[in-house]
């Protein structure tokens, strides 16, 4: 016996394609699947099939949805005049947890990152421009992460939007609530000072 049964090798290869899963871990996961009940293994396979078949991106905001429009774009109570631009679907969930924002979203599905071969055409910028060209948008809030790539993406998009006569804003920088000043890094403190407001 030079190797494991073919079907087992193929499953290991599939696991090894997942991000952050190396050859050894892939083999361990394949063994784990073989050790589970037939019912459990089938449920896993079915979950992959179902997710891939039913989850699409919303044609308006590009967020994940299993309906025609995502729940937020379908909600008539949300203000369509304000678009919050985020990098990933998980950022929509984070914003919604704040229970403060009542506009709609636009999910870019990535940020511009030359190191990862992600250019402006690899994220959903074109769809955002299309939405704004249709009119009715008063403000675009750039809510990409405050890191190098998130900043660059926000800058890039804000420049594209300049000629379109729409107000472009950026989430405020500052010290996070509940944190302690002594642990804040210099740049965060610098920005918290720059953005200070009168009480």
């Amino acid at each position: 016996m030079k190797h494991y049964p073919n079907a087992m090798e193929r499953l290991t290869e599939q696991f090894a394609k997942l991000p952050g899963i190396g050859a050894k871990t892939a083999q361990r996961l394949a063994f784990f699947i073989l050790g589970r009940s037939e019912e459990d293994a089938m449920a896993f396979a079915q979950a992959i099939i179902d997710a891939k078949k039913t989850v699409k991106t919303c044609p308006v905001c590009q967020n994940l949805t299993d309906a025609e429009l995502c729940p937020l774009c379908a909600d008539q109570q949300r203000d369509r005049g304000v678009i919050c631009v985020v990098a990933e679907p998980k950022d929509v969930l984070a914003m919604e947890r704040a229970r403060e924002y009542n506009g709609v979203y636009h999910v870019l599905h990535g940020v511009i990152s030359p190191l990862n071969h992600m250019g402006p055409n690899d994220i959903r910028v074109r769809e955002l421009l299309g939405r704004i060209q249709q009119g009715g948008v008063r403000e675009v809030i750039m809510a990409t992460n405050p890191d190098t790539e998130g900043e660059a993406t926000a800058m890039y998009i804000s420049r594209l939007l300049k000629p379109m006569e729409v107000k472009v804003t950026r989430l405020a920088y500052g010290i996070p609530a509940g944190s302690q000043l002594e642990y804040a890094d210099e740049i965060t403190l610098l920005r918290a000072l720059e953005g200070r407001r009168e009480l």
Copy 2:
């Protein structure tokens, strides 16, 4: 929107059941699957189904196989009088790489480990006893790992085999080939001394 589409949540849950995969990683993997082509995702699901359906354990040696008997048990050239007992299928591959052993194997699928709630009935000991009771076995080589649990398992099985009039041996301990003495631990050196042979 309070959460992701249902099918996506279910896929995340499935990934989170895998060993060593936490909630955050599970979500990342689910996103990765959604980002792949439909063809790729289906190939993954099919690999799980195929592996679970075609890979069984060999009724004789308990190793993984997709045939009636595993290739080693089916091979008439192998000496059925010698059984090498290993903990996992990967250990069979390791032994075979040495190209020295010509007997057959017995895969326990685990070791006795009270901490992990693995008792003698949770590994394939009964099947090993059954093979030896059928007769024709001259020697059983205990090739579990030289760690606490592997040792305990080897000791436990060797005691069970005592009354069966079969020779029970253990792989030799010693310094690994290609290693350097200065890095060998005390126990390894002690055992290498104990097991020294005349040249």
